[in-house]
């Protein structure tokens, strides 16, 4: 069952993701804004995250470094625009692999009967930028399966399963 809803409308330069978490709003807000807690979940599974900077106030900078299982690092950074505990964080987001393509992200937390609905709205600089980002998600998925295929071939070559 899919728990994450996505909204990608044609000709709009935004992506909206929604997910309900079985945890109180204060705790979800804390996992999004605490430099120790955020490293436990921020990157994709199997990756590790290091907080380089996290100056949690309007105008404050953040920078995280993601490390994949092969040790390849990528940096992400931005500036906080609004921190309203426990309901909203507004920040810019930029992947250092594509400098200049800055997103404006709004994370909204709503209390739904003791659970928390998290909505993240990412606004891109253009429709083309947004579409490229969605396409990158696809490419990384495709290259992952290529990696798995390469592994299988390598294992078949050595006669192991």
């Amino acid at each position: 069952m899919s728990k994450t809803a996505i909204l990608v409308e044609p000709a709009k330069q935004e992506i909206v993701l929604t997910r309900v978490f079985d945890a109180p709003r204060e705790l979800v807000f804390k996992t999004l804004t605490d430099p120790e807690l955020i490293t436990h979940w921020w990157g994709p599974r199997g990756h590790s995250t290091t907080v380089d900077k996290m100056d949690l106030r309007p105008g404050g900078a953040w920078r995280f470094v993601d490390r994949d299982p092969e040790g390849r690092e990528s940096g992400f950074h931005g500036v906080y625009h609004e921190i309203l505990a426990p309901e909203r964080v507004v920040q810019t987001f930029e992947w250092e692999g594509a400098p200049g393509h800055v997103l404006l992200e709004t994370m909204t937390l709503e209390d739904v009967g003791g659970k928390t609905r998290l909505t993240t709205k990412s606004v891109f600089q253009s429709v083309a930028d947004r579409d490229a980002m969605v396409a990158t998600g696809m490419e990384s998925g495709a290259s992952e399966s290529m990696d798995r295929l390469a592994e299988l071939i390598a294992r078949a070559g050595t006669g192991k399963n």
Binding site: S2, K3, T4, A5, I6, V8, P10, A11, I15, L17, R19, F21, D22, A23, L27, V28, T31, L37, H40, W41, W42, G43, P44, R45, L118, V127, A128, D131, M133, V134, A135, G137, M138, S140, G141
Partner: protein, 121 residues
């Protein structure tokens, strides 16, 4: 201008009139005249939109039939849906990780609140 199939499809979908034409065609074939009617559009305007949809492979037009009815071709839409679905799955995985961590934190909290209860059970 981008020329790959996905970009062409997305550009074609980026117009409300063209989306309405596709929604109409989802119910069945229609002639250009039938498509123009509900939108109160002039025929050349509808033809222009249809040309964009045809270039994107979203609409085909019968050649032999006298009224050349237009038909919806869903394949490029499936490609868009798959493309969005992969992105969604990427985020689902990352949110799963957050969800698991939240459960872990709450488990630890409960244990800290009621240490005896934990021992008894």
């Amino acid at each position: 201008m981008a020329t790959d199939q996905l970009s062409i499809t997305l550009t074609a979908l980026g117009d409300p009139t063209r989306r309405a034409i596709l929604a109409r065609l989802e119910k069945g074939e229609a002639t250009v005249l039938e498509l123009a009617e509900p939108f109160e559009l002039k025929l050349p305007t509808v033809s222009k939109h249809l040309k964009v949809l045809q270039r994107a492979g979203l609409v085909s037009q019968g050649r032999r039939a006298q009224w050349r009815p237009c038909r919806l071709e869903p394949e490029p839409l499936r490609e868009v849906a798959e493309w969005v679905e992969r992105y969604r799955r990427h985020w689902e995985e990352r949110f799963d990780r957050l969800d698991e961590y939240l459960q872990e934190l709450q488990g630890a909290e409960k244990q800290a609140e009621n240490p005896q209860e934990e021992k008894q059970s």
